[in-house]
């Protein structure tokens, strides 16, 4: 669960706070858990909600806007061979809005409509934020791969 929270936060301490709060909610609300979904899913949902609550304040300070200029690299990017830690760092490095939208859409699998409702933004904003997140991530990935490529060559 800490990974989930880490994805939604910038630092480990922040994630731990969210985990803590989330688990308290889970323990207090476990009696309300109906066997409709998998426990893991339920717990994850609570964590995500807790994380969103925690980040809402920041989102208020840095409102999300539609991003129009998105440059997507043409190259196919693969994350295979990149450690989860690095991916996490990349996600954490994303701007606040992008990070959350990317998590919700890309990893949690919510639709843009759902995200828009959850965060109180428009669907378009959600889409553009996701696109921006993706673009930024891909740029980072590209950098990483070239970095490795270079050093890989050098090593050889």
């Amino acid at each position: 669960m800490l990974v989930v929270c880490l994805r939604y936060s910038k630092t480990t301490a922040e994630a731990e706070d969210i985990v803590q709060e989330g688990f308290i909610k889970i323990f207090q609300g476990i009696k309300d858990f109906r066997q409709e979904s998998k426990l893991e899913t339920w717990i994850t949902r609570i964590m995500v909600n807790t994380a969103l609550n925690a980040q809402r304040k920041k989102l208020y300070l840095y409102p999300m806007v539609d991003v129009t200029e998105i440059v997507l690299p043409d190259e196919e990017m693969s994350i295979s061979g990149i450690h989860v830690d690095q991916l996490l760092q990349m996600i954490q490095a994303l701007p606040q809005g992008c990070q959350i939208v990317f998590n919700l859409f890309g990893i949690e699998g919510y639709s843009h409509k759902e995200i828009a409702e959850m965060l109180g933004i428009s669907e378009g904003t959600s889409k553009s934020q996701f696109a921006r997140a993706k673009s930024l991530l891909q740029t980072r990935l590209l950098k990483e791969s070239t970095y490795y490529d270079r050093y890989g060559e050098a090593k050889i």
Partner: protein, 503 residues
Amino acid sequence: MTDMERRKFEDSFKEAFKEAEVSPREEVWTNIELELEKASGEKTRRKLAFYKLLAAASVVFALSVTGIGYYLLSHNSQYVQEIAGNTASLDKSDPLANRTDDQPSLSQSVTDQPGVKQTPGNETSRKNNVASSRVKAQDGSTMITPTQIDETNAVRNSDEGSGFIAATGENQPGPTILPIPTDIQTNNNGVVASDLNGGQLQGPSIHGERALPQYFKATAPTLTIPDHQPDAVAIMMAKLEDDERKFAAEEGKEKTKNNEKVWTSVGFAAGGFSSVNHSVAPQTTMVTALANTSVPDKQAKANGIAYSMGVSVGTKIAKRWILQGGVNYLTQSSDYTASNVVVTENDYQSLKAESINTLEGLPLVADVASSNKLAATVPYSVNNSVKFFSVPVQAGYLVVNKKFGLQLNAGLSTDLFLQNTITPQGSNLDKSTQGRGDDSPYRSVNFSGLMGTELSYRLGQRYRVALNPGVRYPLSSLYKSDVGIQSTPLTFDVGLRFRYIFQ
């Protein structure tokens, strides 16, 4: 980048994170545990607070109920007056009396009559007057008698068109409040005259302006409900009135029962005393070479029994405050051991027990030629009894004043020293008494503080029996200051009092 690729990209992220696990630090779990504990603790606390609140609320409720009960009981007189007032006003404002007669036949016939207006007024007395003074019949055929009016249910218009009030004799049910025209116009027949002074009623039982009490009374039975149907409101009102009367009567009884204003009581009390604060100063004047200096000490510090009997009167000065005073005969008796006898006037036949009284008269060590002296003997027991006449005045607060009573008393008692009797237990020794006066080591007048409670139970109308534990503490020593012996015995006694309540 195609859509597929995009989806692939996201899925790859999803995959990458699916199995990813990072363990949080131990502190996180500890914190979670602590937080959970705190939360559950808060819940218990909240529950506890709720119960506390509940308890407090119930106490408040009980107190308020008691308070209201008290208030009602103690405001009996006011309450009874109020009820009496209500009853009176109820009598006056009997809804039935105010009922305007709306019997169709009556009102219709009146309104039909030309030049005659219906009076909506319902004051019977006024009606009477008007009836007697204003209505004038022209000839003998149109006369009005109270009984006739009483029985009349309609004011009929005569065939000739001349308005007159006719006694029809129809015994119609329902109220027969006669509408009297206030503005009677004299028609061409002159049947009804509006002249008040000239009004003359030609009837066998109505004469001039005489008041008609019989008539007034006679209207009472006509105040029945139309159609002979029992009116629910009337029944209810009557019942309420009845209830109130009963209640008022009961309250009145209660009032006389609970009214304790002046009482007298007779009682006795028994208890013990102990000299909590005593001291004996070395006195050159009384200590002789042979004297056992510990005697005054022994006598002063001896613990003993105390009993008293007396009468008192009490009165209530406020709702909860009482004042009581009386007279008491108080005895404090204690034993001490002496080991000397006092020889008076060299008369060895008359030996007295060693006591503060006798030591007072003993000479100084040097004065061996003195007539009084001490002689050592085997230790013997001496009974020391001090008698007082006390006049206590106490103020009391009634905590509970019902059949069971609880009263807190505090006051001051003036103790007049009567006498001290020294009774040696051994033989051959004379009993000696010491009265009040200049030569007495005892103070003639002393003051004591009194404090106590009185638990009482009322027996019938006039009696109350009370148990009153209390303490008595002298404000100054029993002995005169020049004697050098300090003795302020604290007395605790439990009294039983019978109280007779005058009113």
